[in-house]
Symmetry: C2
Subunit: 306 residues, 2 copies
Amino acid sequence: MADPMPSWWRGATKTAVLEFVEAVTTAGSPDFVPPPERIAVFDNDGTLWCGQPAQAQVLFACDRAAELAAADPSLKAREPFRAFLDRDMKAIEALGKEGRFAFAFAIHAGMTVEAFQRLVRDWLDKARHPTLQRPYDQTVYQPQLELLAHLRASGFKTFIVSGGGVDFMRAFAERVYGVPPEQVIGSSVKLRFDAAGVGPCELTKLAELDSFDDREVKVENIGLHIGRRPILAFGNSDGDLAMMRYTVSGPGRRLALLLHHDDAEREVAYDREFRLSPLVEALDNAARYGLTVVSMKRDWEAVFVE
Amino acid sequence: MADPMPSWWRGATKTAVLEFVEAVTTAGSPDFVPPPERIAVFDNDGTLWCGQPAQAQVLFACDRAAELAAADPSLKAREPFRAFLDRDMKAIEALGKEGRFAFAFAIHAGMTVEAFQRLVRDWLDKARHPTLQRPYDQTVYQPQLELLAHLRASGFKTFIVSGGGVDFMRAFAERVYGVPPEQVIGSSVKLRFDAAGVGPCELTKLAELDSFDDREVKVENIGLHIGRRPILAFGNSDGDLAMMRYTVSGPGRRLALLLHHDDAEREVAYDREFRLSPLVEALDNAARYGLTVVSMKRDWEAVFVE
């Protein structure tokens, strides 16, 4: 049989993943899980694609701020507009994780969801990643595409559960990851549907944050959107720890994978010092929490899609 | 070819439904819709199963109130406990649609989602519908099971979008309708995940209402949960009108179906006077809004599952 994950080095981690999938999908196995219960959840930034030097949505907001400032130069002097315009990472960091997303959301208030997604698609068509110098589509991790495909071929339903904006991710998740919009969970603003009068029936994005999908909230949103405890979770930061702990604490076979960015040569080596989304507690307590650490350096034969 | 919907009388409505499905699924048809975009949304109470004399969840709350009052008799004198204990429909109606659900939610605060769903399943196993005198599973409409199955066989993804509690419906929707939990959208309370300490990692239901999934909010929740405009919607009350209007106002072929309960002999004839969930505006303006009215009396050869 062909290797379903050729970009993973043969070793203990790959064996653990393949063996888990086989155990839960083999009829008659004591670990067998019926297909409807084969739920897998993946973080996005830093797990499915590159999260450096910042989450893609932060870089999108920088570009968007530049467009808005071109139309209204008075914005240039206003914080946090100025920070995004200047790509001042220290000032952007100082906003906090939620503050950064709140800014990214606020500048799109009043747009319809469909217009916003056209904006995201147009940006992805022309933007280039600032350090990798390639389109964002090519900052996606090839080993993860293989894992997602292997899970789906094995009867899993694959979900994204990310701090990123849900409408932002849905603009590309189906094309890039094969994950349809209804299987993307993320941070969100409140939406408004106004069917009064005879105008078009559209959903509009409001400025008000609805959910900041990080840490414990990831689990609460899994409860709201999926309603079933996943049997596999994959993350790369402390923001994913609650979701990984929720996953492994259910009955039966479970697998939680933690990607460690330890490959300075092919990507970026970072963990606890990355202020936009640190990895400290999950890494220091991986064994205690039952997490399988995936080393980008040792476990991945290829990193990015070609 | 076998008739996929034998419980629908041959006539204009059935023809419209079958013709719609054929048009959007036939490759090369000008109305062809790729499978990932074949999203169908169904209301639950009064659309997929009987919603009389009240939504099943209201009747569940009545039974639950009796259990709680048995353990704590002081509750018997307290409103709205007393109204539910006495099945005082006038007093229950007076609470308003949201107030009724708020009570149903509040009495389960503090339970884990999983424990609550065991409670619902136990209730469904033993409860009998007060007027139809049969288990609730048998208050499901046979023609709708056939339509759901036909849509799924035609590459549709079928969703429930209901004012009912999402955790309540998820306890039976997969078994009864073939709709998995992640395709059930409903009213919800906030959930809390507490991973501090070494206790079990569980999601707990809080008393606070998160979303009352009715009218415009149904569309906003479609935006949050699905992220794609449905091409087919099926409802039976004004609470479904926004979702039907959103569905038909997109580009390309669309179908919105409105079930009219006009069959006093086999079920209950009701519409504008049903205070728990009236049907007025959608019925009076069906043609203007592009809705196809389904008459239970004339379009359904059978009503309930056997």
